[in-house]
Amino acid sequence: MRRIRPVLLPALIATLAACGPAGPGAGTRPAPAAAAPEAAPEAATAVPGPEAAKVAVIARGEVDGVPWQVDLLDENGLLCTQASVDRRATGHGCDPPVSKAVPVNVAVDGLDDRVLLVYGAADPSVAGLLAHSRTGAPRRVAVTATSGGRGFFAYAVKPGTATDLTALDSDGREVFSAGDKIWQFEDPGR
């Protein structure tokens, strides 16, 4: 396993970590030298590994000519989402829990700074999803793949424009908002 080098680790945190592996603090390797120049992303493939079987393409499209896609994969029985932008893998996640109480689970993926991807799973009690942005009226987001008792969805916008994703029940009532999560992602001061 390759290692991750910590930088700028406060001495206080390191001292606290030395209290023992069971105590809160930071688990780290020795401090490295200054950061090297920016390197290109190494995530070179959006092709699932041999243990992953593609279940469906949840959604695909383009933002300012940059293609994106989110696939639903079966990975040893886990339902996972694999996103890609410009045919390079970006975010990945598995088995997002949903329930009637928390009917939508969303990941926010800006690993390629040209496209902001929002994708996830919805409980069957969700009748509609609305993507809200600074640039226009809310637009419907389709739940395109249903598997494992959940529906999956994905959409993409230009970074800096997303404001919320809301879910409606069959009576048109709003039952979920991802506004906090999207705001925490999009707001540069937080």
Binding site: I4, R29, A35, E42, V102
Partner: protein
């Protein structure tokens, strides 16, 4: 950046208060940071040495938080690049297993967000 420094100081102070709590982690990780009570935390910085990094976290029950998620943030400019799915506060490790594409030689840090306060929490990253 000020928020992050402030958070780190808060983390350290809180950590002193709750030292001795278990992290509950059996997963081998290359970078991790644990905290005491709170609904938002920011970690120290780290540099991934591989192009794929797995991020995850953990939180213990007993507070108002029922779910949490972890964000990966570029240190330079505090640019958030990925926010994970939300996971249950259940005392278990949760991780995005395949990994997400990152730049090597670029410093990142992790943010832990709860939908309320958890008595203890952790975020981690591994190649």
């Amino acid at each position: 950046m000020f928020r992050k420094v402030l958070s780190t100081i808060t983390i350290a102070a809180t950590t002193v208060l709750v030292a001795g709590l278990s992290t509950g982690s059996a997963q081998a990780t290359d970078f991790w940071q644990a905290w005491g009570s709170g609904s938002y935390h920011a970690s120290a910085d780290f540099v991934p040495t591989g192009g794929l990094v797995h991020i995850g976290g953990w939180a213990c029950e007993g507070g108002s938080a029922h779910s949490f998620y972890v964000s990966l943030v570029k240190t330079s400019g505090s640019q958030k690049v990925f926010s994970s799915y939300s996971w249950d506060v259940d005392g278990r490790d949760h991780v995005d297993p395949r990994g997400i594409g990152v730049n090597t030689s670029t410093a990142y840090y992790l943010r832990w967000y709860g939908n309320g306060s958890a008595p203890c929490s952790k975020a981690f990253a591994t190649n």
